[in-house]
Amino acid sequence: MRASRAYWICQLSGWSVYAAVNLLLGSLSNGPSASGLGLSVGASAIGLGATHAFRAVILRLGWLERSVAALAVRMAAGSLVTAVAMAVVALAAVSAVFAAFPVEQDAPPLLLSFLGATVNWTALLLIWSGLYAGVHLVGRWREAERERAQAEAERWRLEAVARGAELRALQAQVNPHFLFNSLNTVRALIAEDPDRARDAVTELSDLLRYALAAGRRETVPLGDEIATVRRYLALEGLRFEHRLGAEVRADPEALAAPVPPMVVQTLVENGIKHGIGRTPEGGALRVEARAEAGGVRIVVESPGVLDAEAEPESGVGLANAAERLRRLGGDRAALVVRQATPNTVRAEILVPLAVPTDA
């Protein structure tokens, strides 16, 4: 409705200006005359009618939906056809007027008039087409831009939602392989060593509670994380027996440092899964937390060889751990996993002590 009104305003004002210019030019060369007025108004009326019909054709054939090039070709061809039609109509009108009101002056040769009128109208219609298509193309471009911006915003929103869900799921996740193997161990221990079975149930419960709560907390004191690591190692020790040696050392000053929950735990789990769990003779895992100037350094060392092929699974855990560290400490927090000696893999975390407040 509004587009239609804007259209009419443009059409009427445009053709009025055209009539006024024609009238002015005619008056300047031939002096003001009734016939000059008639010709100017008549020409504008024909122009208005013809372009309105042209517009109906454009809309009916859906030219505005086409590509810019296709639209341009069609508008140009349409302009030419319309101009010929207008020239015919205009000459017929002029001839009729001359026939009704004979004047002394000679009528100009018909063919010449026709060609002149066609060229004039074509030029005029091309200008009209340019304006008409231009207005529509600008509208179309703005609409596309708006849609693209909306799609982009939606994509970002979905990504944020997905990432949040992924984080929660990963944080709450306890490796099912570990969980069911532990339960199986407990089942075996119930007959063999009921006291250790009871302890194992408690340790497993504490571990699960901690892992479930991890999804709701940004950070925990390192002391809590270390306690969980000890529980985890105790449970894995029941499974691996003499194959798993473990040593956990932490500076008392380091225990209050805030760390993302399950971060050290992830490293220890990886160390067991890819190191000790892969060698029949087993090995020793070492966890150390040291207070240093400006931060806490946590080292997890396990026997093994960094294996590019094993990355997909552990890669997710490590990437997740690194991401949570970055959120906590920005660029100053770091997680590095490297081959420390030919058969030792060392994972190192650096947690800055002063947590930036801009997070």
């Binding site: 099912p176 392989h177 969980l179 069911f180 193997n181 339960l183 199986n184 161990t185 089942r187 075996a188 221990l189 007959a191 063999e192 029941l238 499974r239 691996f240 027996e241 000790i276 769990g277 892969r278 060698t279 029949p280 087993g282």
Partner: protein, 260 residues
């Protein structure tokens, strides 16, 4: 009439897991645990020793995730897998779903006694597995070495990329040497096994599997036509459409054997 005893071998890297399974199996007197192993090399040694003693196990309870070689690796390394294999795993559904054929049972840890009972009930040992029931093939030709030759009903385990198969030897039309591997032609599949053709030939029953040439070992039961070929050689066409040329020497041997 009492049911035949089933000899079982347990393979799991965790001692307590083996203890638990052994205890669960106590409820099934028809299953006798004749040995256990903590990893693939020890399991291989145990299976070899049992086979040499003439008492190969009827069923293998096998953990999938083990340090070093996995349960699948162990099976793939065996010349012939025990008649029944039951996988016991903590959480490896995805690994077991890789099986093309569902001719495999698996238990999840902790093992539910009822589920174990169902698995054991399904274990009625195939006829061929009984030690004194020597396959016709093995009996038909004198076997010098002590190792029992593998017959058509023995199965090999094939790990072909992500896909796992138990393959009955009688279903294999053709063994084709391919570098360090041997390609099996079985059904529409052509999986590779890490074995040399000589190694395989040494274990297979020569009455059924005939060395056609340096590159090929054919299952004679699957030969549809045999025709004279150039220069005194023979050409065998298998029921899968494969054509294999017998070298002159092997063609000669083949003629001697068949023309009584």
């Amino acid at each position: 009439m009492s049911r035949a005893m089933l000899r079982a071998v347990l393979v799991d890297d965790e001692r307590l897991a083996r203890v638990e399974l052994r205890r669960l199996l106590e409820a099934h007197p028809e299953v006798e645990v004749v040995g256990e192993a903590a990893d693939a090399p020890r399991a291989r040694a145990l299976l070899d020793a049992l086979a040499e003693a003439g008492t190969p196990p009827d069923v293998l309870f096998l953990d999938v995730q083990m340090p070093g070689e996995t349960g699948f690796d162990l099976l793939a390394s065996l010349d012939a897998v025990p008649p029944a294999v039951v996988f016991v795993t903590a959480y490896d559904e995805h690994a077991l779903r890789a099986f093309e054929v569902s001719a495999v049972d698996y238990l999840v840890k902790p093992v539910a006694p009822a589920r174990l009972a169902a698995a054991v009930a399904r274990l009625d040992v195939p006829e061929t597995a009984a030690p004194d029931d020597i396959p016709e093939a093995a009996a038909s030709e004198a076997v010098e070495d002590a190792v029992r030759r593998l017959g058509v009903d023995d199965r090999v385990f094939v790990k072909d990329g992500e896909r796992l198969h138990f393959v009955r030897l009688g279903d294999v039309r053709l063994f084709e040497s391919e570098g360090n591997y041997v390609r099996l032609y079985v059904g529409r599949e052509t999986p590779l096994v890490l074995r040399s053709l000589n190694q395989l030939e040494a274990r297979l029953d020569p009455a059924v599997f005939f060395r056609a040439s340096r590159k090929h070992l054919v299952n004679l039961a699957r030969v549809t036509t045999l025709e004279d070929w150039f220069g005194g050689t023979l050409r065998a066409v298998l029921d899968g459409g494969e054509a294999v040329e017998l070298s002159r020497r092997q063609a000669q041997r083949f003629r001697e054997r068949t023309s009584l």
